[in-house]
């Protein structure tokens, strides 16, 4: 399951896949790279695929919120997709509802919502 986290351009969105043991430094580097690419490639959306993540703590939650905030400033909507049920329950219990982000079941769902605008 392990591998590098990656950023790919899919239609008019950047797909960010986080791998299962992403480190703090890696995720912060990713945030930097991402902001550059949103501006350069003029995308409408950012799709964060977190289906590989077994744990999302407040730090990772905060980074996700920051990515969403930053993307919005650059005119792109952020979708979180593929969140595991246990992760969703845990985040709610931590009080992190991620109101800054949109959510979708999968990349396909996020892309079709982006197409609809």
């Amino acid at each position: 399951m392990s591998g590098k986290s990656s950023i790919h351009l899919v239609e008019n969105a950047l797909l960010v896949s986080l791998h299962d043991d992403v480190t703090d430094t890696e995720i912060m580097d990713l945030q930097d790279t991402l902001s550059g690419r949103i501006a350069k490639e003029d995308v409408r959306g950012v799709v964060l695929d977190i289906s590989a993540l077994e744990i999302v703590d407040t730090f990772v939650g905060r980074v996700i919120a920051q990515i969403a905030g930053m993307s919005r400033l650059l005119a792109a909507e952020t979708y979180v997709v593929g969140m595991r049920p246990a992760v969703a329950v845990t985040l709610v219990e931590l009080g992190m509802y991620l109101p800054e982000t949109r959510t979708a079941l999968s990349l396909t769902h996020a892309l079709s919502q982006l197409r609809r605008g």
Binding site: E54, I55, V56, D57, F59, R62, A86, V87, E93, L94
Partner: protein, 108 residues
């Protein structure tokens, strides 16, 4: 996490507790300048116990620190209270200048 998996704990229990441990470990690194973490199982094999100790500045007002929304830095301030909610037992001891010890457990 691996231990819990081998004991067939539910995905939810595992995720909850692993997240709690992650919060506490991160606190120790960010605020306590690093520390030691130990994992054990109670004699009756009912609980997985994690003890995390740092030698940082310690926490002056524990009650305040445990409340949601409290943060000493740029956090959202949900770490400590959240970790407590996600564990079956949670004990925190700290005093200014003496570091912090958190002992938490989860039924397996």
């Amino acid at each position: 996490m691996r231990e819990m998996k081998s004991r067939r704990a539910s995905a939810l229990r595992m995720t909850r507790f692993a997240t709690a441990v992650s919060e506490i470990a991160r606190n120790a690194v960010v605020h306590g300048g690093g520390g030691e973490i130990s994992v054990s199982i109670t004699a009756d094999e009912q609980y997985l116990v994690v003890r995390c100790q740092d030698h940082g500045p310690g926490i002056g007002n524990l009650e305040q620190a445990m409340q949601d929304g409290y943060t000493s830095r740029d956090g959202l301030g949900r770490g400590l209270g959240g970790a407590k909610r996600l564990s079956d037992t949670f004990d925190i001891r700290s005093a200014p200048g003496e570091g912090t010890v958190v002992t938490m457990s989860c039924r397996v």
